[in-house]
């Protein structure tokens, strides 16, 4: 199984960070992984996205063109990528920010109010981890122990106190 994951939203939502955690979890599970960010003008104040691949085989193209997992955190990104998702792919949408639904019915779409839930639980800025928790529930892209380790290694040393909040947010996502 190869997970071809596209994560997209605004700069500042932790899109690239979420990708790093997913890649880190794949690494902990001893899979082949790749992480490719957008680094263009879109990142400088506009939309950001990243491609993450997790596979048992060496990764071919690290650029995900037809994702089988798509996490959308703003409307322009949702509109840009929704048609590229492979049939039967998983789509997770932050419904606090995107009031649109997929017109196609051949994908497994989940609409969760991640941003609202983050604020309600005093986890402002961690909607990304709630999205990640939901993905963890709906797919077996990594093992449970891998994700906690990945969060720990991705959070900078100066911000280690934030690890528990990240894990709490993932837990909320998993409960949805």
């Amino acid at each position: 199984m190869e997970y071809k994951i596209k994560i997209a939203g605004f700069g500042g939502q932790g899109i690239l960070f979420m990708g790093k955690v997913i890649a880190g979890a794949g690494l902990a599970d001893e899979k082949e992984v790749s992480w490719l960010p957008s680094y263009g003008p879109e990142m400088r104040g506009g939309t950001a996205n990243c491609s993450v691949c997790i596979s048992d085989e060496p990764i071919g193209s690290p650029l995900v063109v037809k994702p089988n997992v798509f996490l959308a955190m703003n409307r322009p990104s949702f509109e840009k990528f929704i048609d590229s998702v492979e049939p039967d792919g998983i789509v997770i949408v932050d419904s606090s920010l995107i009031d649109e639904k997929a017109s196609r019915t051949d994908v497994r779409a989940f609409y969760i109010p991640a941003t609202e839930l983050a604020e309600k639980n005093e986890l402002s800025g961690l909607a990304n981890m709630i999205m990640l928790g939901k993905l963890l529930k709906e797919s077996a892209f990594c093992s449970k122990q891998a994700i906690a380790g990945a969060v720990e290694s991705c959070v900078p040393k100066s911000k280690q106190h934030l690890i528990e909040y990240n894990l709490k947010a993932i837990g909320i996502g998993e409960s949805l």
Binding site: K20, A23, G24, L27, E30, E32, V33, S34, W35, L36, P37, Y39, G40, I59, G60, S61, P62, L63, V65
Partner: protein
Amino acid sequence: MSKRVLMKGNEALAEAAIQAGCIHFFGYPITPQTEVAAYMSKRLPKIGGVYLQAESELAASNMLLGAAASGIRAMTSSSSPGISLKTEAISYMAGSDVPALIINVQRGGPGLGGIQPSQADYFQATRALGHGDFQVLVFAPSTVQEIMDLVYLAFDRAEEYRVPAMILADGMLGQMMEPVVIEKPQTSAHEKPWAANGHKNVRKHNIINSLYLQAEELENRVVERYRRYEAIKAKEQRAEEYLMDDAEIAVVAYGATSRIVKAAVKEARERGVKAGCIRPITLWPYPTDTIVKYRDKVKCFLSVEMSMGQMVEDVRLAVNGAAPVEFYGRTGGVIPEPGEVLDKIMELGR
């Protein structure tokens, strides 16, 4: 097995150089290679090295010339427009037989161009990285792990032949993260009796120079260097062959593009077209022998590049009319999708 860590291509370029014993780095920031300099700025002061952000790219490459002339391992890195600025000193390094490492994490051009991945500096790297008769070794990694391996090799071979070496990467490879195993290089630095590192009254002065006003003397110098180039061409060609055994269409691609090509080649085979991939690992010397080996066996060659068609000329030179050579490319920072390459392969396979 050593531990796998996730690393950006740019970080791996820097870490590999440090592992190889590079203690001096001279740079100037430019997207998409800035992480190389950032990484060096954090690490080198801690290990007794020098990280120096110069006032310009040209200054940085002249500093590299000076540092490498003293016999130490040193490097500089930049991206396309910055490399153009560095070429004056690169030509001097070649003319002074000074081994050093130059990294180009390519972006779209010409001019300031853009900041997205590109392979449009192939001609510059393999034909004219400055004025005069000279070549530099050019290595083209396609994975973050291979970046480590080729940085080691580049330092080693540069010293062996006393020529500058270049790692020709691109923005995609520089920015992406992949697992890497960091292992010490197998080889250690070569003896450098030529180095200008102080004669201490025990030997003659070593003079590092590229100025020879007598035409015959300069000619002799250049001809001697070209004899080394012949040895390099005979011994240092490197290429990977992927599904080439029974291939009818040989797709030639290097660097990040080769990964997209391999995905397309695999898909083409599932659709009944016998495609394979030849991936040059050295761009100079070009792996001509590998192309020659297949030129009477395959129906055609297809060069796929992030450029308007540059490496395709080396494929044509190697094929020498024995088979048709086609080209497919995207440029300006656009990364070709596996589907586009697949369409081209299927069209040729009909």
